[in-house]
């Protein structure tokens, strides 16, 4: 049904005037959708080039969203149409074994000192120049620019005829990388299947997520159903899939702060904001001792951040704010940016930056407040590009100021 709606939307879009095309790579281009080929999964777009127009055909996969007449539609949803479990299996078999585009040209890049036999137990001491796992953890994982190098490295090890135990670990890690780095669900699923991952193994719930992302919620739910014990990741996946009730139910069975945090996230995603707030507060009020204390502290940090964001962006609705002038500040480029917001009769009358130390602020100091006033809130305000840090500080400070006045 979703597909039909999007196809209809695209048909309408074709008739309308130029709008914004958000590419999957993060760039935005202006153009006009001329044709939508559902079979080939391509869009033909007439891009505006200064005064002239250029026609290009781009695959769905490289377009994230299009905005027509102010209405934004995420195209990724069009690609993830509902499929039967058989279709998903066929998709995994078809795409999974293929090499991702451009991987051939990547040169492996890793220190020569690495022990390529990658022993399962590297032993005492942390050395990211010797232990493969520690190298991946320290250097590959944190840098998106190195992810393809990392994948290439794993493939190279796999090609060097490893023993069976290492082979399984390599296949699992390749699956991990496809999932974690590239959200390439078909290949992740295929590699995990090669490694014989079951639902109770490490990435098992992520394998279920792949099935759902590829189009079959049923397949994912069936796979989770085989699980013999409760897993935290399951709560998250159920929440993401929109099975909020089941997620909450499971979290209550789990009865532990990490589960509550995930249940809070699930509720927030489903728009059940009051319930989300309750869960987050439950986490924040929890207590633990010993080894658990450190872990709880981290979870509480996350819960607090989520609660703050929730209060700021979803509860700070100007229609609930009492008349008055509110001041608050947030960290900008060089220091605190203080904003004063004037609300009268459920309307944001004025937003002013009252104190700042910013140097690189360009237009952000005037543009962002103007946008907040015209949009009557902080949602959808675009932090002036190239001045994002200042712009976001103004948005956050405004949201915090508004939150002070929520009745």
């Amino acid at each position: 049904m979703k597909t039909t709606r999007i196809l209809l939307f695209l048909a309408v879009a074709a008739l309308c005037h130029a709008d914004t095309i958000e590419l999957a790579n993060g760039n935005k281009v202006e153009g006009k959708v001329l044709e939508n080929n559902a079979e080939a999964k391509t869009l033909t777009v007439e891009f505006s080039l200064g005064g002239t127009a250029t026609k290009r055909t781009v695959p769905y996969a490289s377009v994230k969203a299009i905005t027509v007449n102010g209405t934004r539609t995420v195209l990724a949803e069009a690609a993830s149409a509902t499929l039967t479990p058989e279709e998903v299996k066929a998709l995994i078999e078809k795409i999974g074994p293929t090499e991702p585009e451009g991987l051939k040209s990547i040169r492996p890049n890793y220190p020569k000192t690495l022990d390529l036999s990658w022993p399962e137990k590297p032993g005492q001491g942390w050395n990211n120049q010797k232990n493969v796992g520690q190298f991946i953890w320290d250097i590959i994982n944190p840098n998106s620019s190195r992810w393809r190098e990392g994948l290439k490295f794993m493939h190279e090890l796999l090609d060097s005829k490893p023993d069976d135990s290492l082979k399984l670990r390599l296949q699992k890690e390749i699956g991990n990388m496809h999932f974690r780095f590239f959200q390439d669900y078909a290949r992740a699923a295929w590699w995990w299947q090669q490694a014989g991952i079951g639902v109770d193994d490490g990435p098992g719930i992520h394998l279920a997520e792949c099935y759902w992302r590829l189009g079959s919620k049923k397949m994912a739910l069936d796979f989770i159903g085989e699980s013999s014990f409760l897993q935290l990741d399951t709560i998250k996946l159920l929440g993401d899939m929109g099975e909020t009730d089941r997620a909450v139910e499971m979290a209550e069975q789990f009865d532990e702060y990490d589960a509550w945090l995930l249940a809070g996230d699930a509720c927030r995603l489903a728009g059940r904001l009051q319930e989300a707030q309750t869960f987050y507060e439950k986490v924040i009020n929890a207590s633990a001792t010993g080894q658990q204390a450190q872990r709880l502290k981290r979870t509480q940090g996350r819960a607090q951040a989520s609660l703050d964001a929730l209060k700021l962006f979803e509860l700070a609705d100007v229609s609930k704010v009492a008349d008055g002038t509110y001041k608050d500040s947030s960290l900008g480029y060089e220091g605190q940016v203080e904003v004063s917001v004037k609300v009268r009769a459920k309307k944001i009358e004025d937003v002013k930056v009252t104190q700042h130390k910013e140097k690189q602020y360009y237009s952000a100091l005037t543009d962002v407040p103007a946008q907040i006033i015209s949009k009557q809130g902080v949602k959808g305000v675009d932090a002036t590009s190239r001045a994002t840090i200042t712009g976001e500080a103004i948005i956050n400070a405004t949201a915090k100021a508004l939150a002070q006045g929520v009745k």
């Binding site: 590419l23 790579n25 760039n27 281009v29 202006e30 200064g50 620019s145 872990r295 360009y362």
Partner: protein
């Protein structure tokens, strides 16, 4: 050939016939006698001063730039391909803004100050492109001898304004007659050129346009920044600033001794024109109808009229004010070889000899002083200078595209134009960090601000080529320094807390020159990492870092100033061999 443009006095035979002057003339007379006699000259002066001020305060004010929105249309197919391929569009709003506003070169007046290009060319033994503009203006001044001083020079016009506002009301400092000072300008010119020949550039101290540019920079720019952007963004003053401001106020203050005292007697740029006057093709001449009324002598702002009412040709700027006050219309501005009905010379007697004993003594003394001054400057820079051979000596980070340090010090005229055009005042005036040699040269102060990736203004406005005018595509790859992380203080490296300010800023600027390294990870018994332990810490990729300093600005601003976690930035840019791309592209002679 007649070049007259003055407004002649109304001649009427009988008093009864005299009609009241017309409206235009009445307005001009109300403004003042110089306006009434040579209005065209005053108008040109005003236009030049306004042009100079607009160039300085508007064209070189980068904050009118607006960053392009991500959704802006690409301009060509290559840009579209880049967008589709996922390359982030490189911002260019600062560079574009300067191009948009720069209808005439922002550094026009610096380019046509002949001493600027002449001395830098001599000091660096190279071809300086602004020699062309200087040559053109010198050629033009063959037609209007010293016309630069009378018509174009914004410092001269400012001095005129100072005289009109202050000088004419304060009489007590006025000096009479011609003293020892009358030829100072030649000795200063001589001295700066000798110093330049020794490879030391000191003309920036005295040259007209650098003096006014720096004066406005240190007095006007802080006020502009304070009023328009906030007083907290004003660059703090140091001794170097104070010296420059005193020098500028001194130049204006000389106007208390006599109107245009600076221009007539001290300014070495003016001296270049006085010397070039030897090749003049036009001059002021007086016909025999002169009645010796002295009106012209009284009004001449340059003391260019001798007691016999003929012209001191090396001083006359052809401003033609005298022509407008002459009751008998005896003054004409004609070609040098015009001899039609000229007035007799030395009547009344001038008591001037071509080169008397006193003249010879003062020439000898002045010449000696000039050589001594140049030698002092040379000695000062070698004893208390940049000390380039010493690797331990202070090496400032120079603007992107700067020529190598030795040539840089010889080519940078210290006008300060680059500071003015630099967004967020990344460039600060050097003090005495390199002794006397680096005074007022631009250096990057990354604690204050980092170099904007979309800007190439400093090279575009540099009049001497000390900073090469790089296109943005080249500038974005030109290394000015290298950032280095202090592993002992950097918060995640030291294991204190998570921080990724520098990495985020580097990525936002488009360089992606700082990557992450996971540090302080705790391992379990099997040597597998414990989820959630340790920090990601910054690592600079030396092959991608251009040393813009944005990382340092952020670390200093937040971790030092705002949060007080550090004493100094944990990531610091520094210059030195192997860390910067500095080429001397000028054709060396």
């Amino acid at each position: 050939m007649r070049l007259d443009h003055y407004l002649p006095t109304l001649k009427r035979a009988k008093k009864a016939d005299r009609k009241p002057p017309g409206k235009v003339r009445r307005v001009l007379e109300r403004i003042g006698p110089t306006m009434a006699s040579a209005p065209l000259r005053r108008v040109i002066q005003a236009v030049c001063l306004v042009t100079f001020l607009v160039s300085f305060f508007y064209v070189c004010w980068p904050y009118t730039a607006r960053p392009a929105q991500a959704a802006d249309k690409p301009a060509n197919e290559a840009q579209l391909d880049a967008l589709l391929a996922g390359e982030a569009p490189w911002p260019s709003h600062y560079a574009d803004d300067l191009v948009r506003k720069e209808v005439i070169p922002a550094d026009l007046f610096l380019r046509i100050d002949p001493l600027v290009s002449l001395s830098t060319a001599i000091a660096s033994r190279s071809w300086v492109y602004s020699l062309v503009s200087a040559g053109i203006i010198l050629l033009a001044c063959m037609l209007i001898p010293r016309g630069f001083c009378g018509y174009l020079c914004p410092l001269g016009t400012l001095i005129d304004l100072f005289d009109w506002l202050v000088g004419r009301r304060v009489k007590r400092f006025r000096v009479k007659g011609d003293g020892w000072w009358v030829h100072i300008k030649y000795y200063i010119l001589f001295g700066t050129l000798i110093a330049a020949a020794c490879g030391v550039l000191i003309s920036g101290f005295f040259s007209a346009i650098p003096v006014i540019t720096r004066g406005l920079l240190f007095l006007g720019e802080p006020v502009q920044t304070g009023l328009l952007r906030g007083w907290h963004l004003m660059v703090p003053f140091h001794a170097g600033h104070v010296i420059s401001v005193l020098l500028f106020l001194g130049v204006l203050g000389l106007g208390l001794l006599r109107p245009r005292f600076w221009c007539k007697y001290v300014c070495p740029s003016g001296a270049v024109f006085s010397v070039a006057n030897l090749f003049r093709v036009t001059e002021r001449k007086v016909e025999d109808s002169c009645i010796n009324c002295r009106k012209c002598v009284d009004i001449c702002p340059f003391d260019a009229i001798k007691p016999d009412f003929t012209t001191r040709t090396s001083d006359c700027t052809l401003c033609q004010t005298c022509g407008g006050v002459c009751p008998t219309l005896s003054i004409k501005f004609v070609d040098r070889w015009d001899v039609m009905s000229l007035k007799k010379k030395n009547d009344p007697p001038t008591h001037e000899t071509p080169l008397g004993r006193r003249g010879f003594v003062s020439l000898a003394t002045g010449g000696t002083l000039a050589v001594a001054g140049a030698a002092t400057a040379k000695t000062a820079t070698s004893l208390w200078g940049a000390d380039l051979d010493n690797p331990q000596a202070f090496r400032p980070v120079r603007p992107p595209g700067s020529v190598p340090e030795k040539e840089f010090l010889q080519m940078c005229i210290r006008c300060g134009e680059c500071f003015k055009a630099c967004p967020n005042n990344v460039l600060h005036a050097e003090g005495f960090e390199q002794g006397f040699e680096g005074l007022w040269a631009p250096m990057v102060k990354a604690d204050w601000a980092g170099c904007e990736s979309s800007c190439n203004a400093c090279g575009q406005v540099c009049p001497t080529g000390a900073i090469q005018p790089l296109p943005l595509e080249v500038k974005k790859k030109t290394r000015m320094a290298l950032a280095e992380v202090d592993l002992n203080t950097c918060l995640p490296h030291a294991g204190k807390e998570a921080c990724q300010l520098c990495v985020d800023d580097c990525a936002a600027a488009g360089y992606h020159a700082i990557e992450f390294l996971q540090v302080h990870t705790k391992a379990d018994a099997n040597g597998n990492p414990v989820e959630g332990t340790g920090f990601v810490a910054p690592v600079v990729l030396a092959d991608k870092c251009v040393g813009c300093g944005l990382c340092q600005t952020r670390c200093y601003g937040i971790n030092v100033l705002e949060k007080g976690l550090l004493k100094q930035s944990a990531i610091v840019i520094s210059a030195g061999s192997g860390k910067e791309d500095r080429q001397f592209q000028s054709t060396a002679v």
